[in-house]
Symmetry: C2
Amino acid sequence: MALSAYEKLHSRQRDVSLLGSTAEVLGWDQETCLPDAGVAWRAEQLAFLQGQKHRLATAPEVADWLSEAEAGPTSANPVEATNLRWWRRHYERAVRLPVDLVEEFTRATALAQSVWAHARKDSDFSLFQPHLEKLVELTRQRADAWGWEVCRYDALLEGYEPGARSAELSRLFSELAPQISALVTPAREHSKRWPAETLAGEYPIAAQQAFNREIAEAVGFDFTAGRIDTATHPFCTALGPQDVRLTTRYNKKDFTTSLFGVLHEAGHGLYDQGLDGMEWGQPAGSSLSLGIHESQSRLWENHVGGSVVFWEKWHARAAHYFPHLALLTPAALAGAVARVEPSFIRVEADQVTYDLHIILRFEIEQALVEGNLAVRDVPGYWNKRFETLLGLTVPDDRRGCLQDVHWSFGLFGYFPTYTLGNLNAAQLMAGARADVPHLEVALAAGHYAPLLGWLRENVHSLGQRLMPQELMLHATGETTQIRYHLEHLRSKFAA
Amino acid sequence: MALSAYEKLHSRQRDVSLLGSTAEVLGWDQETCLPDAGVAWRAEQLAFLQGQKHRLATAPEVADWLSEAEAGPTSANPVEATNLRWWRRHYERAVRLPVDLVEEFTRATALAQSVWAHARKDSDFSLFQPHLEKLVELTRQRADAWGWEVCRYDALLEGYEPGARSAELSRLFSELAPQISALVTPAREHSKRWPAETLAGEYPIAAQQAFNREIAEAVGFDFTAGRIDTATHPFCTALGPQDVRLTTRYNKKDFTTSLFGVLHEAGHGLYDQGLDGMEWGQPAGSSLSLGIHESQSRLWENHVGGSVVFWEKWHARAAHYFPHLALLTPAALAGAVARVEPSFIRVEADQVTYDLHIILRFEIEQALVEGNLAVRDVPGYWNKRFETLLGLTVPDDRRGCLQDVHWSFGLFGYFPTYTLGNLNAAQLMAGARADVPHLEVALAAGHYAPLLGWLRENVHSLGQRLMPQELMLHATGETTQIRYHLEHLRSKFAA
């Protein structure tokens, strides 16, 4: 029996997903297991798989199948309609990039990554500058190839947060920044009640692992279809519909690094485990955007794990694993794990100041891509603006504009999704509180299924059926707003 | 500049190796890390990769390139000559199998594997019988498709041990069997000096891991390009030219399982690490045959690790990790780790009786494939012959003809390479002793570089330049003989 155009596209996307998820296995292995000397061959394997994947996704027959499938009547089946819509978007985006540009960009990022690592180590921006100039230029070319209407940065955002626009993000972030800045001083004052030494002590890694696993299971992470490993830069990756892997890192003097790492990545993992397994790898069974994905990690990390009720529930288990914690009240534990203190490094930033780090990067990226800032002026701009936003003088570029890996990978337009994630997390949490009867009682009892169920229904199971802002509207009655996040921060840190 | 036909073939083989080594990563992950529920998608990924690999290897242009390259003058470069010769062999073997038969065989083995697992568990041969019948029939068809001259089994051997022939193996094994059988009683007597309880005690896993690693490093395994993990069925796999992974398993009451597992797999790993990295994945940079590969694992496991001088050297370190071993003499340690006691399970068999297990399987496989034994008669044949060879009455098929996974994977012709490995190991060890000045002194001092150097030069670095028996002749002056192995067993167990 001949396959329909839709079925051919579905089968092709399945092959693309098999290759893509295979590349994810190789990537996971590289971060957790790969011997040092194995890196060169691994890069060859990954380049080959990506090439094969691109070839399959952009083959001429795909265009024919798309036209044929689109010429038919619109499917009443939302899964089919979703898949067809996104296959078209992905195809258009993929074929618009000339092969020369793809290859030049790949080579430039490979080179930039190793130079960036040296430049950061030596805190020497001049080393990285020519590479960043090249990447910005190639990024502008990519954006122009993809096409844009109002501004070039929109074409980049589209790759991470479909439908997001620079103008709207600028509006949100410019309202957010001063209100967060105003919170920093009261939040620091608030945190003084639990000085940094409150949690001082020894935290054996095996005990941390056991505690983390217990909590990950409690929030609903399925270990028959997932695992936790150790990596320098924690991440979550889905290697298949029933194979979701979290990573975290351990500090023997501080259990919060690994625990909140696990809660954050478990938030991502719960999203991946909640996707429609029958359509896994197809748009209808894929996560929607980085801003929605990050909302899930932030929700479990900050709104669940950072709450006083969470520590009222878990205080006894924490003291079981780390006996000296028995001396602290649950409130002190909750306060001490969420101290606010402005600092230079984004990945170590507290909940209050985190978005200021993002807003700074967003401004710089926009200005670079639109041609309003020269790469050589990035350190100066960074340091001046950092002082305004966070009140600290950046001592060197290692702790300034060289700290993040993203730009060396050519990732422009990625940073703002972190703050979108924070905003969405607070708003979704408020939505769940409004919708789920007795949610507070359940959370206080350590019963997380009602919350997870709401997220499954309103976020995870939808895959890419709605656009990100449609999903926020559907789940919470509003597109992304700043006020839920601000209310959360105020109630927690300035009450 | 246009590529030559040779260069095109080299590039194609590189792509095939990139896919093949990617499948190895997925396989390694499946045995060491994969969550239970992830198995189904993993099978899809592997099937897809194998399909892609087969397509690339058998594409019509490969035949054109081969003809063009072969039409030119024979290369004086041994690497090029080796590659071209083997590319032709691999191509012919791959294209001779009709696609229908490949697919039917794949489906039949997938089905047979799960049925076999149940049949073994319940010790019920009747469950497995129809599947084994199907596999034997398909195996006969495969052999006929590949082609053979003297007997059908030769076509199967060719896939694991190029150039090996049933008649020659039958001759070797029929001389070997009675001489080994005659050794069993004296070896058992010899082993009574060190009863099974000699090593009784606790062996913490962390201590086993540290001891194993120390020994693996001492024999020359490079941990910057490799690692050791845990797996139910230990194996060694090369995921790239600088990425060789060993696995072992742990028994808290017995350190020898994991240690000799590591020594065995490290022997395989040293071979893989000693291949020509520039030609990795090409015939000139690939291991030669299973019988040569197994010779490397057996050499390090039995001839090095099983020797008295080894335990004279490592006794103190063993006692450091496992203090109660300080009470034993090095000779007692060496004796206790190599006790001889006939038993039913091949993978637990001692050095003396091991080959009897193999010879039994070889006889049965040959008879099945040549049509001289019906599948339904396998249990009866097995049990009768087992009693003759090993003097034990098989209590059930679980401990008899259902114990090994190989046939359920359709692996016929694989078993005899284990005994070839034992024979080759003893012969290569004798060759090294004859060639390397003061080898015994070096081994006694725990200085393994001279032995490894000889193996690197005479085995590892040659890749597939010679055929297996040519390599044995080149390295030791003789093709594979039984007498070195018998001399080793006699000197150790019947002296």
